[in-house]
């Protein structure tokens, strides 16, 4: 394998900030190259320069070795690639799939793919839908997604299928010379099981000789899919190493510049308290009857693959989705007329998995977002005391260490981690007896993640019963006193103390899958 793309001394300076400082990057033909680093390390900027969104500053140069994957030998002479020019990158065979995919949800796969590629026209300018359909179906089949219904709006597809459509669009002419596919955070919105399907597609492309530049927060994925990794920190390239010379801890160390202190929850014995959160026979959606008791001061983690019921548990507990059966009690009092409002009134506070669509009110200020669950608190003598509210908001901003210019800044302009801290404030402000969290650190980078974990620790020390549902196994181990694993809508296993290892949790989750398949075959027989 030879070189495919060489970037030399790439520098990008924004006003007041060096985003990229003389970064070298060399990608080999047919390799999967991971680009890792924390938010702000410059990896997004690098991708943006490559795709022509930003112009490089100063003397940067790049060259590529043109090749066709159709078994023609590579040329030896490199060709100069002008950085910051989208068209030049496209001509060099570099294709991009950005994080938000850029699909139109109401269009079907054929239309979405044709939209990027250009419609096949028949005589008279009419669209040749049959040719477009063929192209879409073939493209998706190549990626290992022949099951995608190209006739339904992509909004109805599973997240991994949507990603596949976006990749198919980017690679429509891969046989004519696409040589490098850049995947920018492709799994950011994918549930666990779907990631595997995406990887299968990536491996298929690799077999065809397409090189992949893989940008991700998720180190587990990097270890699984990549053969080389380049680590960026503060705009500098720290290292480029073969993946087998790296391990998880070493990579984090390179990313953040120092070793991460590992914390773990001290073990804790059940007290036999009747208080806290008691769930009895909760049924609805994929949940088939859950019984669970979380004592005050205890943190219980909930693990489970997509479809196991884990993703339904929090919406049902919080009243976001109505349940079919079962009861939830907070501190011994059963909640009546279930709704988010009655759950909050009973002493519960919660954070939904989807921060943007179910958590923040983006256009409103940090203050308004913070006090939303209990605005009345600052009501005095027949009017809302805006001053007192501001003072209170400032106290929370300091307490939670929220990086925001003022309490009046719209929350939408803050980073994800800071938005999440504000939402934590909204919940903690209620001094809840029960705190229910769904994916509390999704899309948040390593540094802010630990800060949020410490907030959860503090809540349990303040004697709240905490339930955390998460697809991040490391997070569950970090936070929980015990972890329950969900299988087919029920709790299948409970892990405590030393049993709580990544291996055990993963095994318990996957066992579920085997059981399900067995149950399926028995059912058929």
């Amino acid at each position: 394998m030879g070189s495919l793309l060489k970037i030399h001394e790439l520098t990008k300076i924004f006003p007041g900030q060096v985003a990229l400082d003389g970064v070298d990057l060399e990608i080999e033909t047919g390799s999967t190259h991971a680009l890792v680093g924390q938010n702000g390390s410059g990896k997004s900027t690098l991708i943006k320069v490559l795709c022509g969104f930003h112009q490089p500053t100063g003397e940067s140069s790049a060259s590529y070795y043109p090749q066709s994957i159709m078994n023609t030998p590579s040329l030896d002479e490199p060709i100069e690639l002008r950085l910051g020019d989208g068209k030049a990158a496209a001509n060099a065979g570099i294709r991009f799939v950005h994080q938000d995919l850029g699909l139109v949800d109401s269009f079907n796969a054929i239309e979405n793919i044709s939209m990027g590629v250009g419609y096949t026209k028949r005589f008279g300018g009419a669209i040749d839908w049959r040719a477009d359909r063929k192209r879409a179906e073939e493209g998706l089949a190549t990626l290992g997604f022949p099951d995608i219904d190209v006739n339904i709006p992509v909004g109805l597809l599973a997240p991994s299928q949507k990603t596949a459509v976006a990749i198919a669009r980017a690679l429509h002419d891969w046989d004519k010379g696409a040589s490098l596919l850049v995947l920018d955070e492709p799994t950011a919105s994918l549930p666990g099981a779907d990631v595997e399907r995406l990887f299968t597609a990536v491996r298929r492309l690799q077999e065809k000789g397409v090189a992949i530049l893989y940008v991700s927060h998720h180190l587990d994925e990097v270890f699984e899919i990549a053969d080389t990794a380049t680590i960026l920190r503060d705009g500098k390239r720290i290292a480029t190493l073969p993946i087998n010379e790296l391990d998880h801890d070493k990579m984090i160390e390179l990313m953040i510049g120092h070793t991460l202190i590992k914390r773990q929850q001290a073990s804790r014995e059940l007290t036999g308290s009747e208080k806290g959160l008691i769930i009895q026979g909760l049924t609805g959606g994929t949940l088939a009857g859950i019984n669970l008791h979380v004592e005050p001061g205890e943190i219980v983690g909930v693990a489970g693959i997509m479809g196991s019921g884990r993703e339904m548990l929090v919406p049902l507990i919080t009243g976001q989705t109505p349940s079919d059966q079962g009861a939830v009690a907070v501190d011994g009092m059963q909640i009546q007329n279930y709704s988010p409002k009655s759950a909050i009134n009973a002493g519960m506070a919660f954070l939904s998995a989807d921060r943007y669509s179910q958590g923040v009110i983006a256009i409103q200020s940090v203050r308004n977002n913070l006090t939303l669950s209990d605005v009345k608190r600052n009501w005095s003598s027949f009017k809302l005391d805006h001053k007192a509210e501001k003072v209170e908001a400032d106290q929370w901003i300091e307490k939670l260490d929220v990086k925001t210019p003022t309490s009046e800044t719209p929350i939408g302009s803050l980073s994800g981690g800071n938005q999440q801290k504000v939402l934590f404030g909204r919940s903690l402000r209620l001094e809840p007896s029960v705190l229910v969290l769904d994916e509390p650190t999704r899309g948040i980078d390593v540094g802010a993640k630990e800060e949020i974990h410490q907030l959860v620790d503090q809540a349990s020390k303040d004697n709240a019963a905490v339930l955390v549902a998460s697809t991040d196994t490391d997070e569950l181990i970090r936070l929980s006193h015990r972890v329950v694993v969900m299988v087919n809508g029920r709790i299948s296993e409970e892990l405590k103390g030393d049993q709580m290892t990544v291996e055990n949790i993963e095994r318990a989750q996957l066992q579920s899958q085997e059981q399900k398949m067995k149950a399926g075959t028995h059912g058929n027989a």
């Binding site: 900030q17 988010p340 809302l384 210019p405």
Partner: protein, 370 residues
């Protein structure tokens, strides 16, 4: 890292409502532009048109005449805070006016009672609007557009075409028409007086302002408009707020009809639906004032800026006013919304850049924790 912090601060200023450093924003052009325009109208028309500054020339007329539009504008504003459009307010106002006249003409009921019945009918229609939007999950735009046609049909059924003069009694009209604040305009000898309904209008405006800006209910309404699911998960009964705001909107629209019944009395087909547009224009124009979102005092300023502008133009070009007025209102709406969307686009772009670029708050976050 000093720089990112600085850049976030600046960004915060641009995004927030607090004034930045430029003279432009220090003078508040970005937040009070309509007031400057209003002052410009007063100076220009005050100099060129003699009667513009005369009390019974145009001041009294505009101040009192626009109470109807102001009430309709508030009727549009209230549900808009929860992101619900009420396009039936013009029709509802017409219905209230018609009922008052019809009852006065054809029954012996006290006319004050007729007014209460009219408001009651409006409340019923608002309730049905809420039912369709909240329970049947019909988009409010469609629901109230349909309802405005239904109300128009009801009006036709009660009374087909032409005007109807209920010959409202003096007693009834003195509810609203009687003078307050009567005194002599210095130097001119003309008497200054404002009718009671002007005072009612002010009080109602103040109440709406108080509810929206100074009560938890108002905060909940804006939260519902900003992100209904997030609001619901914060324990807010968003359905009830949307429903309630549509009932409130109908009540305000009905009140606009009553004001007209005190002021003019007679029902004509030109009252009602045609008033929807100026009301909507005022709300969106007003949203560009003061707070960068729909708000009461911005709406008040917008109603009167438009009204004085049109009055001045009418004095200057009396023959052209019939087409200038709708043109003026239409352009104001388009420009106001275009400016507002442009600001929004800039905000969104800034946010995107700040999210993706290294000088984001996230990077600051990292460096601090590292």
């Amino acid at each position: 890292m000093e720089t990112p912090e600085k850049s976030t601060t600046e960004e915060g200023n641009d995004l927030g409502s607090s004034p930045g450093g430029s003279i432009w924003s220090q003078l508040g052009f970005d937040r009070f532009s309509a007031l400057y325009v209003l002052v410009a109208f007063f100076i220009f028309f005050g100099i060129t048109e003699e009667s513009f500054l005369m009390w019974n020339g145009s001041l009294e007329f505009v101040l009192t005449d626009k109470i109807v539009v102001l009430m309709l504008a508030l009727a549009f504003l209230v549900p808009l805070t929860t992101e619900a459009f009420d396009l039936s307010i013009g029709a509802i106002a017409a219905l209230a006016l018609l009922i008052v006249n019809k009852i006065a003409l054809e029954t012996d009921l006290p006319q004050g009672l007729g007014a209460l019945i009219a408001i009651g009918a409006c409340l019923v229609i608002g309730w049905v609007n809420g039912f369709i939007v909240v329970k049947l999950r019909v988009n409010s735009f469609i629901a109230t557009l349909g309802m405005s046609q239904v109300v128009a049909a009801i009006i036709r059924n009660i009374h087909d075409g032409g005007q109807i003069n209920g010959e409202l009694s003096k007693t009834y009209r003195s509810f609203g028409k009687g003078d307050i604040f009567a005194f002599d305009w210095p130097g001119t000898g003309s008497e200054i007086a404002l009718p009671w309904y002007f005072l009612y209008g002010l009080i109602i405006t103040f109440i709406v302002y108080y509810i929206l800006e100074h009560t938890p209910t108002g905060r909940h309404m804006f939260a519902t408009g900003g992100n209904p699911e997030a609001a619901r998960l914060s324990g807010i009964n968003t359905d009830r707020l949307t429903w309630g705001s549509l009932v409130g909107s109908a009540a305000l629209a009905g009140f606009a009809g009553l004001v007209y019944s005190w002021k003019v009395g007679i029902y004509t087909t030109s009252f009602g639906a045609p008033l929807l547009f100026p009301a909507v224009a005022a709300v969106f124009f007003g949203a560009s004032q003061l707070r960068g979102r729909p708000n009461v005092w911005g709406t008040v300023i917008a109603v009167y800026t438009l009204a004085f502008g049109i009055k001045g133009i009418g004095l200057r070009y009396p023959r052209e006013i019939s087409w200038i007025q709708p043109m003026f209102e239409g352009l104001t709406l388009l420009i106001a919304v275009a400016i507002a969307s442009r600001q929004l686009i800039i905000k969104v772009q800034k946010r995107k850049l700040s999210k993706e670029d290294p000088d984001s708050s996230e990077s600051e976050n990292i460096s601090d924790s590292a």
